[in-house]
Amino acid sequence: MLQIEHLTKSYGAPVLKDFSYFFPEKGLFVLRGNSGSGKTTLLRLIAGLETPDDGAIQKPDQAKISVVFQEARLLPFYTLLENLMLVAPKKTKEEALAVLEKFALREAAEKYPDTLSGGMKERAAIARSLFFGGDIFLWDEPTKELDAGNAGLVIEEMKTLARAHLVICATHDPAIRGDAEIVLPQQEKRL
């Protein structure tokens, strides 16, 4: 489903070097590694937000990719509900509210992001990714801002999602356990 071949990327100093991996159609794959080991870079390359210096990413042409960024990236001039409707305008408000409900955000549906806590914004960003839907879900540190209870909620959702989709999650959270753990090595920094 997603074939990564000899992927290399550097920003002056190398971040990813000759990385290859085959991801099947579904399952939860956890990317681990120290800060700066290239987890986020790999997700950005798969999402098409960066171009590799070398190597290739093979995926079906029509594959729909849904992302949770490290930052919530909610638009500040829209309510949570509007932020969700923005990414999937053909879906109904009821569907959006149902997704917000999953993450205990229904009460906050009409609130603006700047009035919410970091954890609520992070859950809203996850809800947005689910509402958008897709074949491949790329989630970057989805439990970083969450307390244990909410993190558990997100992990359960991720596992459910992985039964039918490919979920690749970059995390430092030991509570997230996937079908496979991919440890990215720290690249040597150029002096």
Partner: protein, 252 residues
């Protein structure tokens, strides 16, 4: 509600204080054609308010200045989008806008009087005052849409018109609205100044000029207060019209 009453009382107290200072100064000068007292001025203003000419004069001045203001807004926004997309346009217009901003409004009025019919000068001057402010702020807004927001739009397939109307324009709106609000007051003041020099047939500026010419200082002060009141009303109307729109909502 209580807070609003306290604020209103504070403003009223300040106005009464400065009114008393004005009255004392007028009493000390004791020459009405140099400094009429506030009571005489407000009486004159009230008598002006009872005439149809007063409203006709204000309406015509307003229409001229509003035409220039709207033209400046439209041209400023379109040019800002053009300059954001085409570097050559930016290179051409940046120095021009800097020159317009740096040129004294009186110089412009005199120059423009040589170029166009005097009735159109106030509108053109308002246009010139509004254009660089709206252009600069809108351009700043366009350039301030951060990379993270654009990446979010890309991954969630928000493209084309939807991206423009749902992501880019709302991001620019706070910059545009603050520029419009600032330039509204400026257009009004510069427009009236242009009327004073251009003397269109029916205008506030002409009334001010005539009052000065015939040493009718009470009229001069009454019209000046009318200009201030209209400026305040316009700003309040603008704020009311766009209340809640384009608020920055701290970035997440």
């Amino acid at each position: 509600m209580k807070k609003k009453l306290v604020t209103a009382a504070r403003i009223l107290a300040a106005l009464v204080f400065w009114g008393l200072v004005w009255q004392l100064c007028a009493a000390a000068v004791h020459l009405e054609f140099i400094l009429p007292g506030p009571i005489a001025v407000f009486r004159r203003l009230l008598s002006l308010c009872r005439t149809a000419d007063f409203y006709q004069t204000i309406l015509l001045s307003f229409l001229r200045i509003a035409a220039g203001f709207c033209g400046g807004i439209l041209a400023g926004v379109l040019l800002a989008f053009g300059c954001a997309k085409v570097r050559l346009l930016d290179a051409l217009f940046s120095p021009l806008m800097a020159i317009i901003r740096a040129t004294p409004v009186a110089s412009f009025i005199i120059l423009v009087l040589l170029w166009i019919e005097k009735g159109r000068v106030p509108a053109f001057i308002s246009f010139l005052m509004v254009l660089p402010i709206v252009w600069q702020n809108t351009l700043l807004g366009i350039r301030s849409i951060d990379r993270q927001t654009l990446e979010m739009a890309k991954v969630f397939q928000i493209t084309g018109k939807r991206k423009l109307f749902k992501v880019e324009l709302p991001s620019i709106l706070p910059y545009f609205l603050s520029a419009s609000k600032v330039s509204l007051g400026l257009a009004w003041k510069a427009g009236v100044a242009a009327e004073v020099l251009a003397l269109p047939k029916v205008s506030i500026g002409t009334m001010i000029y005539n009052a000065k010419l015939y040493l009718e200082s009470t009229d001069l002060y009454a019209w000046t207060i009318a200009i201030i009141l209209i400026s305040v009303v316009l700003e309040k109307l603008f704020s009311l019209l766009f209340r809640g729109k384009g608020e920055s909502h701290a970035a997440n």
